[in-house]
Amino acid sequence: MLLEAETREDLMDRIDLLLDDPGFRWFEISLISLAARELDDDGLDRMADAPVGDVIVDLLGPGTGPAACETERLIHAYAEALRRLAPEFSRLTPQDMDLALNAGFDDFATPAPILRAVLGGRRANASFIAVLSAPLMTSQVAPWVRLALVEGLRDGLRDYMRLIASTPGAGVPEDVVPLEERLDLEALEREYQRNRARLDASIAETARTGLPSRPFDSPST
C-alpha cells in the first residue's frame, strides 16, 4: 500500500491512514514485543554497539545516502536509550504497549507535544516496515518513494527521540537531540492535569444536565 504511493503527500497520507488500522496496531505491538524479547537476549546491545554503516543504503540504494546515515544514527541512539531503560521496557505487557501506542489519542487532555512524539514514533514504525519490505519489490519501488520512506523514518524518529531523550536515565547525547529540543515532562504533566480537570468538570456537567458544556471557553489559568 505505501510502496504504491503516487506522490510524496500521498505517501504521507497513506502512512497516517495506516496508523488508524487495527491490523497495523497489532503488527506494531508484535514488533515491540519482539524488541522487548531481544532486550533479554542482548539484541539491543548488538544493535547499539554495531558501527553506523550503510544498512539502509544497502536495502534501498545509494540515492538515500545522507538521510539514511542520519536515520541510522538516530536508530543507534534509540537502541542505546532502550538499553539504558531496559528494566522498564522489558516489563511492558502487550496490553501496556497497546495503551502506550494509543493512550494519548484516546485522552484529549494529553498535551500536543506528547502526541507529536507518539505520532512520530508510529510514523517511524510504518516507514521502517515499508523500508524493510522495499527490497522485496525493488523493481516496482520508485527512487523517490525509497527516499521519502527514509526521510519519513528519520523525521518520525526525530520527533519520537525528543520524548525518549527527555526521559530520565535515557542518556541520549546532545548532538542527537539538543537540550533545547527536549520536552519539559514535569510542565507537560501539569498541563495534562489542568486539561484533565477542565474536561472532567465539563463531562460531569453534561452528564448531569444533558446540555453541552465548553471546557476551554476561557483562557487556562
Binding site: 489519542f105 453534561t206 452528564a207 471546557p215
Partner: protein
C-alpha cells in the same frame, strides 16, 4: 464510536456542523466542531478542503477549529457519519488548548 470518529452536531444558531470525536465516555463525548467563519486573531486550526483532513471531513471550502468550539455533548446529541479524522488532525486540535508552539503541515494548519 471512538476517538477520531466523525459526527454531526447542532451547534449555536441551530446549524448542523461536522465534528471530530475526541473522547468517548458512558453517556458523554468530547467533540470539536468546525465552522466556516475565520477569526484570524484567535487560535485556530485551518483545514483546507483539498487536504487529506479536508477530504476525510468532506469539506467544500476551508473550515476552522477553535478552542471554544470544543464541547462535551450527550451521546444522544450526536449523529454518526462516515469517515475518520487522522491522528495528525487530532494532534493539531489538541494544540489549541495547550502551550504547544504553532505547527504547520500539508494537511492542516494551526495559527495563534
Amino acid at each position: 464510536m471512538t476517538p477520531g470518529s466523525l459526527v454531526l452536531v447542532v451547534a449555536g444558531g441551530g446549524k448542523t456542523r461536522i465534528a471530530v470525536v475526541l473522547e468517548v465516555h458512558p453517556s458523554v463525548a468530547v467533540v470539536a466542531w468546525v465552522t466556516g467563519t475565520h477569526r484570524p486573531s484567535h487560535p485556530h486550526v485551518e483545514v483546507d478542503q483539498n487536504s487529506q483532513a479536508g477530504k476525510a471531513l468532506r469539506l467544500d471550502k476551508p473550515r476552522y477549529f477553535y478552542p471554544d468550539h470544543i464541547e462535551t455533548r450527550a451521546l444522544s446529541d450526536l449523529q454518526r457519519r462516515d469517515g475518520r479524522a487522522s491522528p495528525q488532525l487530532r494532534m493539531h486540535i489538541a494544540g489549541l488548548i495547550g502551550s504547544a508552539p504553532a505547527t504547520q503541515c500539508g494537511t492542516c494548519r494551526r495559527s495563534t
